[in-house]
């Protein structure tokens, strides 16, 4: 009692700043105690959760396998299958168990094919998981929408494409890429139609994902990319250029040449590399004629093209550049000269004693 009074008196007689400090101290002690208790709870929760997850996962896996082998030729859904569906339905009301069921179905879906995979897709619908996925599309939260689209993709639900496509220009990139992957995984090259209408940028990361998804498709017949090369959305142009390279689209030669005058320098450089890859020699002539108007990066890309497409008539142009101040251009020019005419290379190799030039000549001679 005495002690309590002492502390209360001490507190009341302290200046305001000290009172504040003691209030903070008490608050922090309270926070520390709370956070320690929370940490203890969190660690044991995480540990238990992991164990529980493993246990439920095993149970679901066994049930799904039983479901797959419980079918008969008479009923569309056998009695045993129906009881398994009911068991799953009772579990899907809990988000935790629903997520585990989805991941179990997906895991098994990856491991099997043919009729069995079809059965898993059916099970996804029969257990009501499809309805959950569709309800996510209407959510206000972007991560729920992306999650829903992802589930529809993985279970190949083609029928809801109109509901998915409305997210084409969603402000969140994660939703957009989920939608794009849905279209490509389910409709392959036909799914690329979204490129006609997309106004938001497709990041390089997303482009890689889309191209990888496209390459998984057994039908490699590419739809026309001409329109996309003329798109006002630069990322669509970049994507179309990648498509042209991977699928060797020689047919878009004119569109590619037109892109040499595109206002975006990165597009122009990518086009030069692509034209070189496709061996479109007309482009070389066009670029050679306006070489001095090109930026340094374009000039370097052009010389990389020249290494691939040089002809004997290019020799005077090459000779002009064997002393170019840029390392890459000079090196390319010397390499091309050696390939064009070894005697002339030998004549010009002592043109200067500049150390960089000498090193280049030595390297080219040795390789």
């Amino acid at each position: 009692m005495f002690k309590n009074n002492y502390f209360i008196d001490f507190f009341e007689n302290s200046p305001i700043i000290m009172q504040l400090v003691w209030v903070f101290i008490v608050m922090i002690i309270f926070f520390i105690m709370t956070t320690i208790a929370y940490l203890k709870y969190l660690r044991s929760f995480l540990r238990k959760n992991e164990n529980l997850k493993n246990k439920i996962e095993k149970e679901f896996e066994t049930a799904v396998i039983n479901y797959l082998y419980a079918g008969n030729e008479i009923d569309e859904v056998s009695f045993e299958q129906k009881s398994i569906i009911d068991q799953f339905k009772s579990n899907t009301s809990e988000p935790f168990k629903r997520d585990i069921l989805i991941s179990t179905l997906l895991k098994l879906n990856y491991e099997i094919s043919g009729e069995m995979a079809e059965s898993i897709h059916k099970l996804y619908i029969q257990t009501g998981l499809l309805d959950y996925s569709l309800s996510k599309l209407k959510s206000r939260k972007w991560n729920s929408i992306a999650d829903g689209i992802r589930e529809l993709t993985l279970f190949h639900v083609k029928e809801v494409q109109d509901q998915v496509k409305i997210h084409i220009n969603h402000p969140k990139t994660e939703v957009r890429i989920a939608m794009q992957l849905y279209l490509i995984n389910l409709f392959h090259f036909d799914g690329l139609d979204f490129l006609n209408n997309i106004t938001t940028p497709i990041s390089e990361w997303d482009q890689i994902q889309l191209l990888e998804a496209l390459q998984l498709n057994s039908n490699q017949r590419v739809t026309s990319i001409n329109l996309w090369l003329k798109s006002t959305n630069n990322s669509v142009v970049f994507f179309a250029l990648k498509l042209a390279k991977i699928y060797n689209q020689y047919g878009v030669r004119d569109e590619l040449i037109a892109l040499l005058d595109h206002q975006n320098i990165k597009i122009r450089i990518d086009v030069i590399h692509l034209l070189s890859y496709l061996n479109i020699i007309d482009a070389k002539i066009i670029l050679k004629n306006k070489f001095n108007e090109l930026t340094l990066e374009e000039q370097i890309a052009f010389f990389e093209m020249m290494e691939n497409l040089y002809e004997i008539k290019d020799k005077p142009f090459i000779l002009e550049h064997i002393l170019n101040p840029n390392f890459e251009i000079k090196f390319s020019a010397l390499k091309i000269l050696k390939n064009l005419n070894i005697e002339e290379f030998n004549c010009f190799k002592n043109l200067t004693l500049e150390p960089e030039f000498v090193r280049m000549v030595k390297y080219i001679e040795a390789n």
Binding site: V21, L39, S203, I208, E212, R359
Partner: protein, 468 residues
């Protein structure tokens, strides 16, 4: 006069605590946003993609003979499709090169280097493996020039778009390159010039064939204290600075850079011991002066595990170097400080680093001296003293616990039973057993910076990570 001094100390403490709370809160939001965003990313599909951009891992090595074979094997075991590993043997006096030649069937090859950044010359030359299994490996043997010079040699040699500069003894997580290159590829409205991730301490962890098998908490208090310190710095500090686009440093242990910009600014500065911070500041300054939109990205994933000093001598030497590095960089780029022309870097990051990183140890020591003066003249108000010291201590403990919770909620790496209790104990003890040495190292670092200019890198004695 005395009131003014008291007010200044109070104001400084108030500001530093306020900034920690603000950064902590921002970090939490940023980490939640990051985990939500990356929850469904299927890294495996992209890891093996040949369309993914090319990366060079540049790892300088100086007298690393003890672990060099294992370390290189670890770097070669990344799951990323499109990368090479450039080991720069920076004039080692031991048998590092011979060991590498034997282990990886290396032969000297002709190699034309575009010397865009001046470096020390080659010693024995450049080596590549005759074994196709090691085709990604390039070993460069050059004259000693220090870490920055070795990294510059790597920048000259790399033919790839991005360069990952890494300490050779670091253990990279298999998908580290992909996770770190993601910010460069997903950002569409600005250029990402550099990116870093969380560095974790591997002392006492079990490693086998370059892979992390088991995460353990070390026994020594110094090592445990550093684990907590890293958690605080990476999870509660840098995430916030990334959100504010104000990061001034990407850890030298592992960072990814846009090679073109790194070369354009002249590569690493060989005249500083804080080259990792200096290059980021210079790259940012370059982008600001060119008025280009840019970002230094940071991700909370633990990508790289490194060996931390396990004795006070090495620890002090390391922190001494960090202090000198910070002073050198801030001094070299003082034009940026409090300058609105450099946007958030000038008005936010630089002032923060100057006031709360550069000046903090000095203010702390001044505080101790002033306190001693007050004791000597019997002017101490013990009620005030006890209250303020208690408040500062409890705040530090709370902040550390917040970092531990953040770790549990995100990556939950220290799973073993009993580790949680040990971590809490470290949070309470760390201010007594680690912080005084950090303060001491910082003060010696200041002294060395002004009065011992010749001092460069201290030696780090490697014990090697625990092997299975």
């Amino acid at each position: 006069m005395i009131s003014i001094i008291h007010f200044l100390f109070f104001l400084y403490s108030f500001m530093i605590i306020g900034s920690y709370i603000t950064l902590g809160i921002i970090s939490v939001f940023e980490t939640v946003a990051y985990t939500q965003k990356n929850k469904f990313v299927n890294y495996n599909k992209i890891l093996s993609s040949n369309i993914s951009p090319s990366i060079s891992i540049i790892a300088p090595a100086y007298n690393e003979s003890l672990n060099i074979i294992e370390n290189v094997r670890s770097l070669l075991s990344s799951h990323y499709a499109n990368y090479d590993v450039i080991i720069i043997n920076d004039g080692s006096k031991d048998d590092s090169l011979e060991k590498l030649i034997d282990a990886y069937n290396l032969i000297c090859v002709d190699f034309l280097i575009n010397e865009q950044i001046p470096t020390q010359p080659l010693r024995k030359g450049i080596y590549k493996s005759t074994n196709p299994a090691f085709e990604k490996l390039i070993v460069v043997d050059k004259e000693n020039g220090g870490k920055a010079d070795a990294l510059n040699m790597g920048l000259n040699i790399s033919a790839n778009k991005y360069v990952a500069c890494i300490d050779v003894d670091c253990l990279l997580i298999e998908d580290a390159l992909l996770k770190l290159v993601k910010p460069f590829l997903e950002t569409t409205d600005k250029v990402v010039i550099a990116a870093g991730g969380v560095i974790r301490i591997a002392n006492s962890c079990v490693i086998k064939e370059g892979k992390l098998l088991d995460v353990n908490l070390p026994e020594k208090m110094l090592e445990k204290g550093q684990i907590l310190e890293y958690l605080r710095a990476f999870l509660l500090g840098r995430m916030a600075w990334s959100r504010l686009n104000g990061l001034l440093v990407i850890s030298g242990a592992f960072g990814l850079f846009d090679k073109k910009i790194a070369i354009e600014v002249g590569g690493y500065d060989t005249n500083t011991v804080g080259e990792d911070m200096e290059i980021i500041v210079r790259m940012r300054r370059f982008m600001e002066e060119k008025k280009l939109k840019y970002k230094v990205a940071y991700i909370p994933d633990p990508l790289c595990w490194t060996e931390a000093p396990d004795n006070y001598k090495t620890f002090i030497s390391q922190r001494n170097r960090w202090t000198r590095g910070t002073i050198e960089t801030l001094r070299k780029h003082r034009k940026i400080g409090f300058n609105r022309k450099y946007s958030s870097m000038g008005t936010l990051s630089y002032p923060y680093w100057f006031l709360f990183e550069r000046m903090a140890p000095i203010v702390e020591v001044l505080g101790v001296i002033y306190f001693a003066y007050l004791i000597f003249y019997q002017q101490v108000r013990w009620d005030y003293t006890i209250a303020f010291i208690l408040l500062a201590y409890l705040f530090t403990v709370l902040f550390s616990i917040a970092a531990i919770i953040s770790e549990e909620l995100t990556y939950h790496q220290y799973k073993k039973k009993g580790t949680g209790f040990k971590m809490i104990m470290i949070a309470f003890l760390e201010p007594f057993v680690v912080h005084p040495f950090i303060l001491y190292a910082a003060i010696v670092g200041n002294k060395d910076y002004y009065f011992n200019k010749k001092k460069k890198w201290g030696a780090m004695t490697r014990k090697g990570m625990t092997k299975a």
